[in-house]
């Protein structure tokens, strides 16, 4: 029991720190990727002892800057809410990672060793629930700012996130019908199947429309361009208007954490999670022939790496979208959410159910 507690604690610490580090890293990635896309160089000036490392120290300098800046707190009746709001968002975004399976389960010395903090049967619902809770941080922040523009931004944000949360959930229903489970680990395991002996039956293969809807709604849920109406920092301004210093940083960081969470969910549900095609517990196997035999420990290490790689690809795509498309107008946003995505998601559910019924018959 104690061993399990220690183990879980270690896993929690590892996961949380990895996510946070990766989130910090993404701030640099975002700048660099956009720069390269736009024929620029991007942040590269921060240096330690003349060492620049392509601007990697900007993560550090940004952090220091965030902490060092003067914190401005508006005159408000909800000072406590104001202070705590960014961390509510942050906290719930991090909570979502609890159910993400980063690797397969390894049975060692009677322990089930898995890079997954918890594996409840309703894992995916937990993740969605946590994602949905981040809205509170946003709304509370906007409300407590005692600023009309912040409040309006928060209202826009809440409306937008609720709209897309539904599409997001509805999009996942299709795959869940196929997988027949809500357990995250089982979802991943289901995707180990090969269709025709060579095509991995990942969620993206069986549910391409759902994947597309999920990515779109996910981008909207993380308030990224082209769905950044809650913030709209350049002109319409948003819920974080009155925030400065590290509290602003927390809001900004929540964005990145959410982005990782959405990517993780997308990878888990649609891209086979930690699965590597043709990698079985004995090594790489293709049509019954063992191509490369590997020890279980190596396999167990390859799988999180694969997961990480897939997450990186999804994040790359999300960032690509963010630096390519201009922002929606609010009515277009609502039109897309309610009149296109949601019907499409429902249609997907119906068709999936119908197809499954036909296949069973």
């Amino acid at each position: 029991m104690l061993g399990e507690l220690i183990l879980k604690t270690i896993i929690i610490v590892v996961v949380v720190n990895t996510v946070l580090a990766f989130g910090g890293f993404l701030t640099w990635v975002e700048r660099k990727q956009s720069a390269v896309m736009q024929d620029r160089i991007g942040a590269n000036r921060a240096s330690i002892l003349g060492l620049r490392l392509w601007g990697l120290f900007h993560i550090l300098s940004d952090g220091i800057k965030m902490f060092a800046k003067e914190e401005f707190i508006p005159r408000t009746d909800h000072r406590k809410l104001f202070l705590v709001a960014p961390f509510i968002a942050w906290f719930f975004a991090l909570m979502g990672f609890a159910v993400i399976p980063f690797s397969n389960t390894l049975h060692v010395a009677g322990y089930e060793l898995s890079l997954q903090i918890a594996n409840p049967q309703i894992g995916i619902l937990f993740a969605f629930a946590m994602m949905g809770m981040t809205i509170y941080g946003l709304v509370l922040g906007g409300w407590a700012s005692n600023n009309n523009y912040a409040l309006l931004g928060a209202m826009r944000g809440a409306a937008q996130m609720i709209s897309y949360e539904i599409a997001l959930a509805a999009a996942v229903v299709g795959p869940l019908i196929v997988y027949h489970t809500l357990n995250m680990q089982e979802i991943v395991l289901w995707q180990a199947k090969l269709w025709g002996g060579w095509l991995p039956l990942w969620g993206i293969v069986v549910q391409p429309l759902a994947f597309f809807l999920f990515i779109t709604a996910g981008a909207a849920g993380t308030k990224r361009v082209p769905f950044d109406l809650p913030e709209g920092e350049s002109e319409i301004i948003g819920f974080n208007l009155e925030y400065s210093s590290m509290r602003f940083g927390a809001f900004m960081f929540t964005d990145f954490v959410e982005k990782i969470l959405v990517s993780c969910l997308a990878v888990t549900v649609f891209l086979g999670g930690w699965q590597v095609p043709f990698l079985t517990e004995n090594g790489f196997v293709f049509r019954g022939e063992t191509l490369l035999a590997l020890s279980p420990l190596v396999i167990w290490l390859i799988q999180p790496a694969a997961f990480f790689l897939k997450v990186c690809v999804v994040i790359y795509v999300l960032m690509l979208v963010r630096w390519t498309l201009p922002r929606f107008r609010y009515d277009q946003l609502m039109h897309l959410g309610w009149k296109i995505m949601l019907p499409l998601a429902f249609a997907n559910i119906v068709i999936t159910g119908f197809v499954l019924l036909v296949l069973k018959a």
């Binding site: 720069a35 390269v36 736009q38 024929d39």
Partner: protein
């Protein structure tokens, strides 16, 4: 007024089906940005290893270390020109002060000691913190006294008072052609 030609875009054309479903256009856009990323990244990496350094991965110029050079038409910080006999050209006519849209020029004129020259600027002050670099003052100057080809563009200071240039400062810094390029050179270097 020169002629301003406005390019008209024909919006009466009905959008094609692919354009209307939007997805295809989005993908096309993503493809373009993605291509830029990949190509640029490729050259960045090559440059990192010292290969193909002529083709840069980015058009960025690393400004303080690397100067782009200025087109001869660029308006840089003002200076007051002198005549051949080293006297200031400015006659204190206040045309620039009048035309200035930012109201950043302050002139006080007085009699010139030489009776054959009538007027002279006693105080000539430009508040660079207010200046919008429109160049009207240069355009309007009947004596070609105020010019904006000093070649100084890095005007920064820690106080507002430092941004206020008085006549002595405006007179002492002259045209510095080192960073200027004429049009042909410019076009060659930055096509």
């Amino acid at each position: 007024m020169g002629n301003i030609t406005v390019k008209k875009i024909d919006t009466s054309r009905p959008m094609t089906f692919l354009e209307r479903i939007y997805i295809w256009e989005i993908l096309r856009g993503l493809w373009i940005t993605n291509r830029h990323f990949v190509v640029n990244m490729f050259f960045h990496i090559l440059n990192l290893f010292g290969i193909k350094t002529k083709r840069k991965g980015a058009v960025t110029i690393q400004y303080p270390e690397e100067h782009r050079g200025w087109h001869r038409r660029l308006r840089t910080r003002h200076y007051l020109a002198r005549r051949e006999d080293d006297s200031p050209r400015c006659v204190g006519c206040m045309m620039c002060e009048t035309v200035c849209p930012a109201n950043c020029i302050y002139i006080v004129a007085h009699d010139h000691p030489d009776p054959n020259v009538e007027k002279q600027a006693d105080k000539f002050t430009i508040d660079m913190g207010k200046c919008v670099y429109c160049g009207f003052c240069v355009e309007v100057c009947p004596e070609d006294a105020i010019r904006m080809d000093s070649g100084h563009l890095e005007i920064c200071s820690y106080t507002r008072e430092d941004m206020i240039y008085h006549i002595d400062r405006l007179l002492e810094q002259h045209h510095d052609p080192s960073d200027y390029k004429n049009h042909e050179e410019w076009m060659e270097e930055y096509p």
